[in-house]
């Protein structure tokens, strides 16, 4: 009987005390920001459509050249017209969007993990470890990364999607490492970290259980904004012809048709929808990211 009372008491209190967890604060901020909420909705719809539709698309048919309908403008057969090979643009658009998003996502994830690990280790341990790691970061940051990525893509043997993700990740983790390091440095100076040390908590546990949760909002924000950026870089590189291999079309592939002035000027249906799709995706992700950023920074919260 007594235990029961305690139990109910506890439940009551768990509900009463407002959680200050990173996720709930972020969720509340998104709900408050109409633009971010709309973005979330649009992006969700978009992703469901893209990933759903690509399940049903016959990829073989999509890549077969149909000489009878070269460069046909939008019609009932081909809602967004066809390209120089008579291939359906809408289908390519859907596949491209799927590839762009998936690859952007993995690049963000891998670069994020590397950046987080390096940043948090350097920041937490400081001293020589920090010095060494930051030397590397500083060096990578001053490299002309776009050019080097292009060079790597060109000379890589057995070039495929994985190679591309790998090359991109190598150059894109440094910014995150720097950010996480500076935040970790600030966190490390706070007494709760010192307290944990004096309480006998091992370093790895302090990093994971104490420091990491306090960085979670910054990490989420940063990854979100990076996701948008990385999709942009990927499609940009593909546009230049140094992105995804031809077997994996991306949105950038469609846009790259516009390097031909005739297509740019007269056959808008080939490149414009892909451009708009990139724009919409990036805007949506960014609006969500900005709302998350406000949530992470108490000064900027909407209320």
């Amino acid at each position: 009987m007594k235990a029961e009372i305690v139990q109910t008491n506890n439940n009551f209190n768990i509900k009463k005390s407002k959680s200050s967890g990173a996720f709930s604060v972020m969720w509340r901020e998104i709900l408050k920001d109409k633009l971010a909420l709309a973005s979330l909705f649009i992006l969700g719809l978009l992703l469901i459509t893209v990933y759903g539709a690509t399940l049903f698309i016959n990829q073989d048919k999509l890549v077969t050249v149909d000489l009878l309908s070269i460069y046909s403008p939008p019609s009932a057969d081909h809602l967004l017209g066809t390209d120089y090979g008579g291939r359906d643009i809408l289908g390519q658009l859907l596949i491209g969007a799927k590839n762009s998003f998936t690859i952007g996502f993995f690049i963000t994830l891998i670069a994020g993990i590397i950046g987080l690990t390096v940043g948090i280790t350097a920041g937490y341990f400081g001293g020589k470890v920090d010095n060494f790691m930051m030397r590397i970061v500083d060096f990578v940051m001053i490299l002309p990364s776009l050019m080097l990525i292009i060079v790597f893509v060109t000379i890589a043997p057995k070039y495929n999607v994985y190679t591309f993700i790998f090359i991109m990740s190598i150059f894109l983790w440094t910014g995150k490492a720097r950010l996480i390091r500076s935040k970790t440095l600030a966190e490390r100076e706070l007494d709760y970290v010192n307290a944990s040390k004096t309480l006998g908590t091992p370093d790895w546990k302090i990093i994971i259980r104490e420091v990491l949760p306090n960085l979670s909002s910054i990490i989420i924000v940063n990854l979100t904004l990076n996701l948008a950026g990385n999709i942009g870089i990927e499609s940009g590189l593909t546009y230049l012809g140094f992105g995804l291999p031809e077997t994996t079309p991306s949105l950038g592939t469609l846009v790259s048709y516009a390097t031909n002035p005739d297509i740019l000027q007269n056959k808008w249906w080939i490149w414009l929808p892909a451009s708009f799709l990139i724009l919409v995706m990036m805007l949506c992700i960014n609006f969500i990211g900005q709302a998350l950023r406000r949530a992470a920074d108490a000064r900027q919260r909407l209320g």
Partner: protein, 322 residues
């Protein structure tokens, strides 16, 4: 001050060495002799001649010998030959470099001209409608990839409206040195420069705005107001000067993004600069040019970070005195 710069340059040296080693290693991984621009692997060649040619080119020497030979050449301004153009790389670069510097400078200046007033307005009158507009503008420019924006600008203003030329850096029909030559240059520059500038305003605006918001609640600003300093002078003398520091610190990384940006801008607008040269060279496998360009870009970035450190130490007395 001089000591500071000297030490800063000293720190640059190992970075430069590592950079050169990296590029050397990359060049070795490229087919042919990317360093001198000579082809050593033509399919028609038999093994014997190939070996002789390689020997002649020094490709069989130990790597460190080749590295130092290349470095020595580099220091004498010898960047090898372009296979495609059959001219020395240095010669090939000269004219294009000028174009790229012109374009980059235009982008940088325009971007500051747009970003600084917007950042100030937005930071000073936080939460006003003007601030909200600037923040909205910033969200959009931050989200838009440069190549999409440049392409749309080209499509709208170049092709649909026909206001600006769609390719090149100058009209070939005008004579060098005349006023119309100058005007033609400017006319060719406007579209790429604006496209690049608008997309690169984001960082400056963002930093300036948050920095002003942070600075204006600081105690020393209260002290200034308590002295009776007029509102406009509180901004010009106290808040803005302090708020410009991070922008100065960012100049070096601005150069990194300018180099990246020029690759896109020049290939979209067919603007004959080093960015465009880079893309065509790599497509034509003209690797000696590629190597030279990467080395130059790396050097430019290093000089950029050095420059921003010097500027920063000139404005901020806390850095000047060690």
């Amino acid at each position: 001050m001089l000591k500071f710069i000297l030490r800063r340059i000293l720190i640059m040296i190992p970075q430069l060495i590592i950079l050169s080693v990296l590029i050397f290693a990359l060049a070795k991984a490229m087919p042919g002799d990317a360093l001198t621009g000579q082809l050593a692997s033509s399919p028609k060649m038999d093994a014997q001649t190939l070996h002789e040619l390689k020997q002649k080119l020094g490709m069989l020497d130990p790597p460190y010998v080749q590295y130092f030979r290349w470095l020595k050449g580099l220091l004498h301004g010898d960047m090898g030959m372009s296979i495609i153009h059959q001219t020395p790389v240095t010669q090939l670069l000269a004219g294009r470099m000028e174009n790229t510097i012109l374009l980059s400078a235009a982008v940088l200046i325009l971007s500051y001209l747009i970003a600084i007033p917007l950042g100030i307005v937005s930071g000073r009158w936080t939460d006003s409608w003007a601030d909200k507009m600037v923040v909205g503008y910033n969200y959009i420019t931050f989200a838009t990839p440069l190549f999409i924006f440049a392409l749309l600008m080209l499509f709208i203003f170049g092709f649909v409206l026909g206001w600006f030329p769609t390719s090149g850096s100058v009209d070939i029909r005008v004579e060098n040195g005349t006023f119309s030559y100058f005007m033609s240059k400017v006319n060719h520059l406007i579209l790429p420069a604006f496209s690049g500038a608008i997309i690169s305003t984001t960082v400056t605006i963002q930093y300036l705005r948050t920095e002003i918001i942070d600075t204006k609640i600081k105690d020393f600003v209260k002290t200034a107001r308590a002295k009776g300093v007029s509102e406009s002078n509180v901004y010009t003398r106290h808040i803005l000067r302090n708020s410009f520091l991070p922008i100065a610190a960012f100049l070096g990384y601005d150069i990194v993004s300018l180099i990246g940006g020029s690759v896109f801008l020049e290939s979209i607008y067919g603007y004959p600069g080093i960015g465009q040269l880079f893309i065509t060279s790599i497509a034509q496998r003209d690797f000696s040019v590629v190597t030279a360009l990467v080395m130059i870009s790396g050097l430019a970035t290093l000089v950029g970070t050095l420059l921003s450190d010097i500027i920063l130490s000139a404005v901020d007395p806390r850095i000047r005195i060690e």
